[in-house]
C-alpha cells in the first residue's frame, strides 16, 4: 500500500516539476521580451552572436544539406522511375526540403551545434559568477548577455534552413541530372511550376523562425538557470539538446497540421 502511494507521489512530483519548469520558462520569456528591443542598442553584440551561432554552423549545415539532397535524389529517382515519372524528381526533392527537411534538420543540427554551446557559455558565466559581477556593476546581464545570444540564434536558424534547402536541391540536381540523367529542364521546370512562393517557401521560412525562437529560448533559459556546478552545467547542456529537439519536432507537427493539413 505504502509502495503504491510512493509510486503515485513520484508521478505527481514529476508532473509538478514539469509544470514548474514550464512556468519558470514562461516567466523567463516575459523578462526576456522586455530586453529584446533594448538589446539592439548594441548591434555589434548581436552581430558577434550571429557569427558564433550562425556563421560557424555553416559548414555542418551545408555539408548535411548536400548529403540529404544526394540521398533524396537517389531514393526519389528509384521510386519515381518505377512510375516512369522521374521528371518529377526536382519537385519532389525541392518540396520535401523546403517544406519539411530544411527547417527541421537544420534546426536539429543547430540545437546540437550552437544551442548547446550557448547554454554551456552562459552556464559557465554563471558558475564563475561573471553574471553576478555584471549585476554588481549595474550592467543588466539579461540585456548584455542573454539578449544578444537569443537574437543571434533567432536570426541564424532561418538563414541556415534556407541555405540547407538550397544546397539540398543542388545535391539532388547533382545525383538526378548529372549522374542519373534526368532531364535538366524538367528538373527545374517542374520545381518552378509546382512550388508556390508563399505557401511553400514562406511556410518553410515561418517554421524555421518558430524553431529558431524555441531553440534560442531553451538554450538561454537552461544556461541562465543552470545549477552553478560542473554537473549542473552538464545537465543544462544535455537538457538544451533534448528539450529543443523534442520542441522542434512537436512544434513541426502542429505547424504542419495547420499549414498543410485538411
Amino acid at each position: 500500500m505504502s509502495r503504491l502511494l510512493e509510486a503515485l507521489a513520484r508521478l505527481g512530483r514529476l508532473m509538478i516539476g514539469g509544470v514548474r519548469h514550464a512556468g519558470a520558462m514562461a516567466l523567463f520569456a516575459l523578462d526576456l521580451a522586455w530586453v529584446l528591443i533594448p538589446t539592439w542598442s548594441r548591434p555589434r553584440d548581436v552581430a558577434q552572436q550571429v557569427y558564433a551561432a550562425g556563421v560557424l554552423s555553416l559548414v555542418i549545415i551545408l555539408v548535411a544539406g548536400g548529403f540529404v539532397g544526394l540521398v533524396l535524389g537517389l531514393q526519389g529517382y528509384n521510386i519515381l522511375s518505377t512510375f516512369n515519372a522521374s521528371e518529377s524528381l526536382g519537385v519532389m526533392v525541392a518540396l520535401s526540403l523546403v517544406r519539411e527537411l530544411g527547417p527541421v534538420v537544420a534546426a536539429l543540427l543547430f540545437a546540437g551545434r550552437a544551442g548547446s554551446a550557448i547554454t554551456a557559455e552562459i552556464a559557465l558565466m554563471k558558475t564563475t559568477e561573471q553574471l553576478a559581477a555584471l549585476e554588481m556593476m549595474a550592467v543588466d546581464p539579461m540585456r548584455r548577455v542573454i539578449g544578444p545570444r537569443f537574437w543571434g540564434a533567432l536570426i541564424s536558424v532561418p538563414l541556415l534552413a534556407a541555405l540547407f534547402s538550397l544546397v539540398g536541391v543542388l545535391g539532388g540536381y547533382l545525383i538526378g541530372v548529372v549522374v542519373l540523367g534526368v532531364d535538366a529542364a524538367s528538373y527545374w521546370g517542374q520545381i518552378g511550376e509546382q512550388m508556390a512562393a508563399w505557401e511553400d517557401v514562406g511556410g518553410g521560412a515561418l517554421k524555421s523562425v518558430a524553431f529558431g525562437a524555441v531553440i534560442a529560448l531553451i538554450a538561454v533559459y537552461e544556461g541562465y538557470t543552470a545549477e552553478p556546478t560542473a554537473s549542473g552545467m552538464a545537465r543544462a547542456t544535455t537538457q538544451t539538446v533534448v528539450l529543443s529537439s523534442l520542441g522542434v519536432l512537436g512544434l513541426d507537427f502542429v505547424m504542419t497540421a495547420f499549414m498543410f493539413g485538411a
Partner: protein, 152 residues
C-alpha cells in the same frame, strides 16, 4: 578592432546569402537551368494541350529533339498555339509530320511527340504542323467507356 570588423563583414555576407537563398527559392527558379536550344521554331495548334507547359520536351521516336518555347491561345479558333524550338541538328523533319501530345507513363509530365511523315520537303523556321492530335484526357476516355458500356 580589426577582428571585430572581419566578423561584421562575414556576418553581413551570411545574412545576404541566407536571404538570397530564400529569394531564389521563392521567385520561380523555373528558368534556372532551362536549356536554351539553338535551332528553328515551328508551331502547332491543338484543341487541348492538357498539362503541357513551356520547357516541356519535344520528342521524336522517344528522343528529345527540342523544347516547347511558349504557348498561347488563338483568339479566333480558341485553339492553343504551341511554339516549339527544334534543335538545328534535326533539320530534315518532313512537312507532313504529325504532332501528338502524350503523357510519359501514367503519372508523368506531358510532352509533344513528332511522328515524321513522308513528304520530301523539310520543315523550316516558322512553319506550322497542321496535323495534330490533342492531349488524351483520361476522364473523357473513362466517361466514354462507361457510356458505351451502359448502352450495351
Amino acid at each position: 578592432m580589426n577582428v571585430q570588423r572581419g566578423i561584421e563583414v562575414v556576418v553581413g555576407l551570411f545574412v545576404l546569402a541566407g536571404i538570397a537563398a530564400l529569394m531564389v527559392m521563392a521567385l520561380q527558379w523555373s528558368n534556372f537551368g532551362a536549356s536554351r536550344v539553338n535551332g528553328y521554331e515551328i508551331t502547332a495548334r491543338f484543341d487541348n494541350i492538357g498539362g503541357l507547359t513551356t520547357q516541356s520536351p519535344v520528342k521524336l521516336a522517344g528522343l528529345t529533339i527540342g523544347r516547347v518555347e511558349s504557348i498561347e491561345l488563338d483568339p479566333d479558333t480558341f485553339q492553343a498555339e504551341v511554339h516549339m524550338i527544334i534543335d538545328g541538328k534535326y533539320d530534315s523533319l518532313p512537312t507532313d509530320s504529325f504532332a501528338n501530345i502524350y503523357t510519359a507513363g501514367l503519372l508523368g509530365s506531358q510532352y509533344v511527340e513528332i511522328s515524321p511523315g513522308g513528304a520530301l520537303e523539310s520543315l523550316e523556321d516558322g512553319d506550322r504542323i497542321t496535323m495534330t492530335q490533342s492531349a488524351i484526357i483520361l476522364e473523357n476516355i473513362v466517361s466514354k467507356f462507361l457510356f458505351d458500356k451502359a448502352k450495351e
